[in-house]
Symmetry: C2
Subunit: 669 residues, 2 copies
């Protein structure tokens, strides 16, 4: 292979390649292969199509660009730098993958302006992009007027073979096809190489045909290393297809330009080394030392700055028209963009007394959604095909987000939990005030855990509505009965795990989930009913844990309960009290929030001198010993459940008044 | 709709339907819709094709039948009962979904003979089936001789819309197409209904085209409610296609026979009720009361018993020929079927002394695989496209399991973690002695957690090789650095989580993982090197936790360490000892095994009187307080990691000698 003559286009493309080579060499770690192969499509897309404003990365109406193959992040950092984002200076590029840099080893939204989604776990980015496109389509349908299209952008993706092999992308792209998301355009870097070698060891499916089966528009650019006209044409075609998402397969050579390492797995995730970098320079006709970019290249790329300024100004005019002609809508739209909740959004959250009939917390959850929905128009979500079990509908609303009704806010995700979570993340990444929620059975949190982790890491206020939260599920049996799921979610940093114990606590959990826009919430909700407590309240949930029932003086024993087992604690405490013991009941609907309280509050609730502590929760005890200590005990699960009616299951595994009291008495000695 | 005239075939089909209706009615819980719709394909497949022996459900060479849509388990229980399995009597059917019954709410291998895989979590069964077919193809290639085909069976699946929406099935079926698994035949119950209603709310892709894109042979039976000839022809065609897996889309009506509920989501997962059951009887022309099956139906179905006996006898003759002509191979084959390990299988597991150069435990793992591979020919596995990072290759072996080399035992799963785990489960479900293992980065255990849970629940001895086990991963950053992953796996019942702290402990972990054929093992292995310890050994790992370094008398403080942090504990103890403290170091490579030791052993290692305990592990502390108690402390992670060189990360988050000693001194007061 010989380099094309150094036209300005070629120089621009090779700038990306060499920045990748040199940054990875300098950090002695990273993935040069993808940026070298994708440089032509990256340049073409960013220079000729992407509507963005480098000097205002958060400009609302920008096109979204997602690098789903996040390991190739030097492509993105190079583009951000070259087009003039302040977030990625040449110094940042030199600090690639170093502590505290803005150029981490995979792109992270919370580190670098201009990064739209946190990518690296494969398949996540393209699936987030489906969420971004849903958000755009929804807001456009909701707000746009013939004379003022305030929401109007594309979502572009670069994805690789890995993204296409991951199941999450299959789920998400099938749904995208169903929803006819015409403004979603994915460029598939078909380089025939993965870490294990050539893709023909494991991946020989006809990808374009697969996407066609989903209802996508598909194209193939056969020479993606040099033919930027073909890439350009394909993107233009894709833009013109408005009722289908588009996949453009672009055949490239991984590590293009490296004479000895291109087209090998060796260039995927390891530095070229100095010698090969020099040979690459020769092959590409690149005469500049590391980290030096010709001015003409900057000049070309940074036309984006003026273009972007113009685009934003143009949009501001549109917005002005919108404000003028549709003041109410504009007020609402701008409130959302500011991320402000409507006034009195929580005014209809229900409050209960013990006289109110006990219900399942999944039912309380439905009531909360019905109470919040009308007051929070930006609440948007649905279920992974369990609407009538999760009760995720918003009372009084009909219809769902479909290709002909994108203004609707109910999403039928299908039996696609992982895509659901990734799409909810995408909606949150859109950063336009939408508050995404999604439901499935708690046990199937396992299916979407990869994306739940990204919600937590990327500080996205996604609300997970996870019903059927214990062996109380009953007959469906152990495949459907979570035991370890709640602990496994509590183990995750930045995830709020709520397990409300009655109606008030469910209202409180919802209030906090809505308020927490920078961390996800997992609402663990029962299938079965439970009594309402006398001393619970919406406000107390904010403490995470609080004294629900108390004795005079220092307790002999403290019960700690959550969810459907809270009432068991209350009843046990009552009986033990009547037998002359001093017993306290602590309700702990959210361990994470309790741990954020002052140590004096924590000491007040759980005095360190009181070592007789009994946790009651129909889940594995794992994690609870932080409060149980070495001297307490628990009524919890130590195995998987079994198929039987819910009450029978609970009995069998010891969630009975007798067993709780007997364990308590053993502690009381 | 009017019922077809009550031919014997129709009676046989309606027997399934009515058993499902009546069992679900009696338990007042369950899913009648699928069995009613799939009865014709179930009958056709089991009566005309399935080679099995009802009186010996474990006969090795049987065809495997997988009900991937596990919620429709009454279909399977009806077929097991009708064809004469002792595991499902009519009394069992009456006990559907009751405590202790052999007919739980979803099929579970450990409850019911004749159930080949535990199903319910959608997409799992079809993906397990890919593993079953891989196992068959591998063993056939390895053992069969022209005059004695001792391994020769099909794997059949019934799957629904839900299975086809789940990403795991996309991953697995793409791989199945790549591997040209001609003896895998899936019947897709295309009933157009899911829980949320008609599939057209979320699932309108062209499923057959998708499977074609994977390389499958596809067919469509348009009238699946009655046309058993067409079903029969399609299955026969599928069998004749030997170089492609087959998908037969069979269009059916969910709840067929129910005049008011068929073709609605209402019949998917709820009892028909007595009235509708009666109307269904009328519509189907079924004159029998609940749980009564006409003798002619039994007579027809139970021809399977004689057929099965004959098939097994025939196979026994083949086996006799095999024994006679190929005694060495037969000995090996039969050893495997008995589930016996070869003699001295562990003889080459390496032992280390502190003088041996410290290495990453992922490297030790590779050495173990190289030491075990030649001695355990039934070890089979690979990596989800991270072979050269996970080091999952078996030293000295080349080539991989491909369509033209199924005798090879290395599997390139592609970037498909979830399918990998499901396929490993399938290989284990084959129950032919194969010991499956698979590798990915530990953090991506999240992607396959749904199937890891099924390994644990179904008691499958799958070995998960999970490298890059902490922030020590370094530059790849927080998306690739597990923090909560180890605790989340420890929370899972029946999962052995190993985090070895040097070479000997890695050898010990492998030994135990191989020995434990009824529970999965997760080996958490470092990217970075660590020193070998003086007092570690293969044998001690079996205790889960043990005293690695000790003092005279009762210690003032106990360190508990694992993995790459073990040596930090040893060094800190050394320094603190030199300063006059009595310090013990406990190595805890497997918490679960430690918890299985006698309480006196546990007390010996961790005396309850010693409350100054310091856990050091580069993961979330979640779960450790069972040993830390209320008075100890930990050097652990309380947030996600960051992108920086591994050593820098470890420093930043406090995994330094200084910090460990300072925390210890605070405890020592």
């Amino acid at each position: 292979m010989v380099a094309a003559p150094a036209s300005l286009d070629t120089l621009c493309i090779n700038s990306i390649r060499m920045l990748a080579v040199d940054a990875v060499n300098k950090s002695n770690s990273g993935h040069p292969g993808l940026p070298m192969g994708c440089a032509p499509m990256g340049y073409t897309l960013w220079d000729k199509f992407l509507r963005h404003n480098p000097k205002n990365p958060k400009w609302f109406n920008r096109d979204r660009f997602v690098l789903s193959a996040g390991h190739g992040c030097m492509l993105l950092y190079a583009l951000l730098h070259l087009t003039g984002y302040d977030s990625v200076t040449m110094e940042d590029i030199k600090q690639f993958r170093q502590l505290g840099s803005r150029t981490p080893g995979h792109p992270e939204t919370f580190e670098t302006d201009g990064v739209e989604v946190t990518a690296g776990p494969l398949g996540a980015g393209i699936s987030n992009a489906v969420g971004l496109a849903i958000a755009e389509a929804h807001l456009a349908a909701k707000f746009n007027k013939p004379d003022a299209q305030v929401v109007d952008h594309f979502t572009y993706v670069i994805m690789g073979d890995g993204c296409n092999q991951e199941g999450v992308s299959s789920e998400a792209c099938s749904l995208a096809g169903h929803l006819k998301l015409g403004k979603l355009i994915a460029l598939y870097d078909d380089n025939q190489i993965t870490i294990d070698g050539r893709t023909d060891v494991s991946f020989t499916e006809d990808v374009l045909k697969r996407y066609e089966s989903y209802g996508w528009h598909v194209q193939h650019v056969e020479e993606g290393n040099t033919d930027i006209n073909a890439i350009s044409e394909a993107i233009a075609n894709a833009k013109s297809v408005t009722n289908q998402p588009s996949l453009i397969k672009i055949s490239t050579t991984i590590g293009f330009g490296s004479p000895n390492k291109s087209d090998t797995a060796g260039v995927h995730g390891a530095p070229l080394g100095e010698d090969e970098a020099n040979l690459t320079r020769q092959q590409l006709g690149w005469t500049h030392p590391p980290f030096e970019i010709p001015q003409e290249v900057y000049d070309q790329y940074r036309k984006s700055i003026d273009r972007g300024k113009g685009l934003e100004e143009q949009w501001n005019l549109t917005l002005a028209t919108y404000r003028n002609n549709y003041p109410a809508e504009a007020k609402e739209f701008e409130r959302m963009l500011r991320g402000e909740l409507p006034e009195n959004w929580d005014k209809d959250l229900p409050i209960y007394t013990p006289e109110d009939k006990g219900q399942a917390t999944r039912k309380h959850s439905q009531i909360c959604l019905g109470a919040l929905g009308p007051n929070i128009p930006e609440l948007i979500g649905g279920s992974a095909d369990l609407t009538h079990s999760n009760y995720t509908d918003i009372k009084g609303e009909t219809g769902s987000f479909q290709s002909n009704s994108p203004e609707k806010r109910y999403l039928h995700f299908g039996v696609r939990e992982h895509a659901m979570a990734a799409i909810l993340n995408g909606i949150a990444y859109h950063n336009s005030g939408l508050i995404p929620y999604g439901g499935t059975f708690l046990v199937f949190a396992d299916y979407m855990r990869g994306s739940m982790r990204l919600s937590a890491l990327s500080e996205l206020g996604v609300i997970y509505v996870l019903t059927h939260d214990s062996i109380g599920v009953g007959e469906d049996g152990p495949t459907h009965q979570p035991v370890e799921t709640i602990p496994s979610l509590r183990a995750m940093p930045n995830m709020l795990v709520f397990r409300p114990g009655d109606g008030n606590e469910t209202s409180g959990a919802y209030k906090l989930a809505i308020q927490n826009r920078n961390r996800p919430s997992a609402l663990c909700l029962s299938r079965q009913g439970m009594d309402n407590q006398k001393n619970s309240s919406i406000e107390k949930v904010a403490f995470g844990g609080y004294v629900l029932e108390d004795c005079d003086g220092i307790p002999d024993l403290i019960f700690i309960g959550t969810g459907s087992e809270l009432d068991l604690c209350v009843k046990a405490a009552k009986q033990l009290t009547s037998e002359g013991n001093k017993v306290r009941v602590v309700s702990m609907p959210c361990v994470e929030l309790f741990e954020e309280q002052t140590s004096s509050y924590q000491e007040e609730v759980l005095p360190s001198s009181v070592r007789k502590r009994l946790v009651v929760e129909a889940a594995a005890s794992f994690g609870w010993h932080k409060y149980i200590g070495l001297d307490g005990d628990s009524v919890t699960m130590s195995s998987f459940g079994t198929s039987a009616p819910g009450g029978v299951c609970l009995d069998k595994f010891g969630f009975t008044l007798d067993n709780v009291i007997s364990k308590a008495n053993r502690l009381l000695g």
